[in-house]
Symmetry: C2
Subunit: 347 residues, 2 copies
DNA sequence: GCGCCGCGCTTAATCGTTTAATCAATTGCA
DNA sequence: TGCAATTGATTAAACGATTAAGCGCGGCGC
């Protein structure tokens, strides 16, 4: 009949049960002193009415929004789905919502995005920074997920160790000459991965590194990488620093009639969505994004709970590096002892 | 010195200027009656203090959170980056934040995710539904982005027309036998795309459809699709219903020594991130996600603004179908008139 | 028997904003 | 000049939750 605003609130429950709002609040939160019997009655009635606390009211009173921000600055990052999923899951388990702010690749847009989140009153935020950028002090706790070598990094996959896993794997298959294929040499993540590979090489092995972006600046976007020539020069393994580059290498090699893994091996990083389904399926290294997200979120939540004064700080976590896991699939195999031509070590 | 809570609020500005909070509020929102001179003074002072309105206070009073929810139920959907980016951009331009809720592929989790969003008080939400699911009435406006054939769909790319573009393109290249490669025959999107392709075939052309999920149920995940055999049977074009399947087809064909596009053509859908960089780069059809997002968001915003009683309804938009754009790259070429063996039309 | 303690609940203040209602002062018009 | 209308501001209530403080009452100790 005479309907008020939709959705029951504390006072509705209170009057309906003949108690005060404070008691209802205490009963539901379990904080004050309420008799067990009354707690039961109140909870039952609240559930029956389908009561959902108003985040707005709560936020206004407590000064906490129970929302975290997620800043993903790298445009159309193929890791986006996994990261977002993992962060959302971890945050949601901790009782937080996740507000996204994608700055379309732009660096100024990154700070803008961060400001938008702050204005919306997020309690903290997770930032996966655009390469070689520093997070300007936002006025709330910030967790950075990048890589161990980044100053201020909170938690990340152990990209270096991942690289070593790749190197060890290729070494065990008898590969001697490895071409590392990266995109951008300013990326801390890619540098750590490449460094790990180099550090993991056995005596008698050597590597060379090809940066795609540098090549494309000369030759144009989407250009050939010239991998067939590299194969003829004696490289038997192509270790890409991301599955995207691995895919690019794989298809170029195949197009040139070089068989993977019979002639050469190809490996990647990240275990992206296509890795298991291409032919041959990609040997890669997977990051444990769920664990990373959980660490990042709990670091944030801890800081939020302890600090009354919402200062802007980079939070730190107990565990900074989460091990990566080697996934061996079809694209890596024994080194072919007889390369097509014998120009070995000519370059 | 004696510091209060951080961040200036209306009352701080008010006392500092010797006026009432209401006047400040009116001056900033431009709603009530305030003299022009005072409006100027207040705005200047607010800007100087770096005033940001409290979303919590405003939300509590107005009943609007200025936040939209985004539900992406398909696990690790490779379109996620584009969708999220586009929605976030459109929402942000309209003054809304975007709260994400990924239900990890689960259907019950989809309703759970929707509930989480509702509990957080979103004003509306954009749902990209898991295949063949209906959105149970959430208690706020909902925009559905799927495909035109889905009941309740708000706006989507014109997948059917996209399919016709592909068919026309392949027809113009002289292809007669086309193998359509889809993942799941229950997906409305994939069905519309396949339907469009079939509808676009010229007289003398024929198509067959291969559903990967059905095949994998028998043969196991990650199995071969047997495309080489299909090629021998006379199929010269492989039209995948997503770039992911196109990539799978491309690499399998290459692995079997079949050259693309010299021997056969491969096309995809969606222009995913790897499409331009694989070799050969993928001919595909791109959806105008920015336009779609803008339509969906403005439909939501309209409904939010007109309806005082936040009812749960599927909103409708003026434009329901947004045209897709054919991107011709290297993976499609003239039909090879002489297939390797001549078992044509044997199957 | 008196006072104190603690339990169980209520009262009331508060967070920051919006907005209807009100009010004083000035202007307009006859 | 007197009354109404308009302008430019204030006052106060409200949104829904949390939480410190208060208060009556029964039990316990001495």
């Amino acid at each position: 009949m005479a309907s008020q605003r939709p959705g029951p609130n504390l006072s509705r429950i209170a009057t309906s049960l003949g108690v005060s709002v404070a008691t209802v609040s205490n009963a539901l939160s379990g904080k004050g002193r309420v008799s067990d019997a009354l707690i039961e009655r109140i909870r039952a009635h609240a559930a029956e009415l389908g009561y959902v606390p108003s985040q707005a009211g709560r936020a206004l009173r407590t000064g906490r929004s129970a929302v975290l921000g997620l800043v993903l600055p790298d445009i159309a990052n193929p890791l986006f789905p996994k990261i977002a999923q993992a962060i959302e899951y971890a945050a949601s388990a901790a009782g937080y919502g996740v507000l996204i702010a994608d700055s379309r690749g732009d660096i100024t847009a990154q700070t803008e995005a961060i400001n938008r989140l702050v204005e919306r009153g997020v309690d903290g935020m997770v930032v996966v920074p655009r390469r070689a950028t520093r997070i300007s002090g936002a006025s709330c706790p910030v967790a950075v997920i990048d890589t161990a070598s980044t100053p201020g990094n909170t938690v990340a996959a152990d990209h270096w160790q991942g690289g070593k896993e790749i190197a060890a794997h290729l070494a065990s298959l008898g590969h001697k000459q490895i071409l590392i294929i990266g995109n951008n040499h300013e990326s801390n993540v890619q540098n750590d991965r490449a460094g790990g590979i180099r550090a993991g090489l056995q005596p008698g092995m050597r590597s060379e590194t090809l940066w795609i972006e540098r090549l494309e600046n000369e030759t144009g976007a989407g250009c050939r990488l010239g991998l067939a020539k590299k194969a003829r020069q004696g490289f038997t393994a192509f270790a890409a620093l991301s599955d995207l580059q691995a895919l690019r290498a794989l298809t170029e090699l195949q197009q040139d009639g070089i068989s993977v893994p019979a002639d050469v091996s190809v490996t990647g990083f990240d275990d992206l969505i296509w890795s298991p389904v291409v032919t041959p399926s990609l040997t890669t290294v997977r990051m444990d994004m769920d664990t990373i997200a959980e660490i990042a979120v709990s670091a944030l939540v801890n800081r939020i709970n302890e600090s009354g004064t919402r200062e802007g700080v980079l939070v730190t976590a107990h565990t900074e590096r989460v091990p990566m896991q080697l996934i061996i699939r079809q694209s890596s195999g024994l080194a072919n002892p007889a390369p097509k031509t014998s120009e070995m070590e000519s370059l």
